[in-house]
Symmetry: C2
Subunit: 338 residues, 2 copies
Amino acid sequence: MLGTMIYGPRDIRCEEVPEPKILKPTDAVIRLAASCICGSDLWPYRGLNDVDWPKPMGHEYCGIVEEVGSAVTSVRPGQFVVGSFCISDNTCPHCRFGFQSSCAQREFMVGAQAPFARVPLADGTLVATSEIPADDLVPSLLATSDVLGTGWYAADAARVQRGSTVVVVGDGAVGLMGVLAAKQMEAGRIIAMSRHKTRQELALEFGATDIVTERGEAGAARIKALTNNIGADSVLECVGTKESMAQAIQCARPGSMIGYVGVPHGVEFDGQALFFSQVGMLGGPAPVRRFLPYLIDLVLERKINPGKVFDLTLPLSDVAEGYRAMDERRAIKTMLRV
Amino acid sequence: MLGTMIYGPRDIRCEEVPEPKILKPTDAVIRLAASCICGSDLWPYRGLNDVDWPKPMGHEYCGIVEEVGSAVTSVRPGQFVVGSFCISDNTCPHCRFGFQSSCAQREFMVGAQAPFARVPLADGTLVATSEIPADDLVPSLLATSDVLGTGWYAADAARVQRGSTVVVVGDGAVGLMGVLAAKQMEAGRIIAMSRHKTRQELALEFGATDIVTERGEAGAARIKALTNNIGADSVLECVGTKESMAQAIQCARPGSMIGYVGVPHGVEFDGQALFFSQVGMLGGPAPVRRFLPYLIDLVLERKINPGKVFDLTLPLSDVAEGYRAMDERRAIKTMLRV
């Protein structure tokens, strides 16, 4: 089959790869309904992560179960499933605590920018729908696998509550999903920091009440001005750079929480500055599995439409162009027809 | 009157100082029932803080209101009061959010190692008891002013809940108060990290269920062994050094919270390491004022006895010896008869 490999910075190739097989009795193999490119895929693409080249790419997925290992009991061939980008057994103490992304058996999904993928720990990782969903729901179901689940976790970690004032730092796909999540959690005010017109429009559509285009000191001043000089109750940090993290801290009121889901690159916190800012922080890879059943239901009931975050759809054979479009910010998020 | 001044590292002097006066209409002057030395006073004592020498010392206090400014309405001369080491108006948005230690008008109390002290923003800062409390309750009431309130905040920020497994890093007075707080919050297991016999005994008396004497990697391994390889649900960091903060992070399970109340000195966090550890953090100067009414009631009802943390009592004139005893860890916390 065709699959996506990265050979080095900016070297994405769609090439012939072996079809995935059941390797362990707890595995499943699924036929993907669609795949996509993640913002985090751009870290290795830009040469900012150490990677053993070549490496199969893709960790967001949904589709039909093709085959299961002998130990798998909760899903069966023919079912439509969604899984998290974090593989988890969903039974260990960390999973039961709701942090499946720190599962004792955690693996990170790979190789999902392809028509078929192997999913380890299928019982713990996959959530099946009761029926095969309508085709038009596939983009939104695919989004629950990572980008929505991650934005949702940012809002959860930042303890967004009914009536909260929320600032979302980052207008990438995850930030936009954070806006959607804060809206679902009934935040009173959702301030999206964005300077890109198409992303601003999508943020407003997902529930943002205010757009702030300024950044840095000016951005923080604007947030203070919008919040009676108080700062936000909850801040969602959805980028992972030094600048975005500083922005998040500057926008947060004392006693608030920052949910940070952009993998930090080159970020250091000064302990004493953080102490006196008195902002709380919780981040990490999102425990998407915790939220999946709820998010899938919201999609199936057509209460949310996170699939709108895909503003470019390409055939798998054009995956390299999908990376380029996201790298150059011509696309928010690329869906791949597999 | 006599008061306590610091002139430089290890240079504490009890000397004649001016009696405090009402400077603003919102001030009160109180006659202290007792005073004490804080672990944080040891930072300048050890030359680890930049200080404009000479500086009046002491920020923990309780006693009788002597005089109030013309704008003060909630306390009157003759009443017994306790106040926080953080001066706050208790009306600004940060105060109403429960973070009085980030009050828009915040000041830090000074000059309370003396018989009289001026308390700014008396209406917001002071809590009066309905009657003059019995003398034997004074040490415990004094403790609520900072050391207990700070240990309590550590437990609150770490979200200790009924049945939680709690690790307390630091066996100083604040750590011991953290143990007491976790016990009151009905933690199921309270693991105190301490290698000093008298502090271990006090920790056990305050409610610790386990004592861990190891530190560093060995300490973290011991915590893992005690918690089925899971880690703690809540960690109270009550020191503020690089080593103690690393210890706290190593002991915390993914998804847990660390309440950190030791003022960080030389502490930096690596963003990516913190991200993947998936521990939450909330710290800062404790908003003691939030907890004061509740803590005072617990003391007056004789449900807690935090005053036991004072294991040395000296007359004010011997204050320098009180600092030495704490610096050399001969005393946990020194009370001063004023």
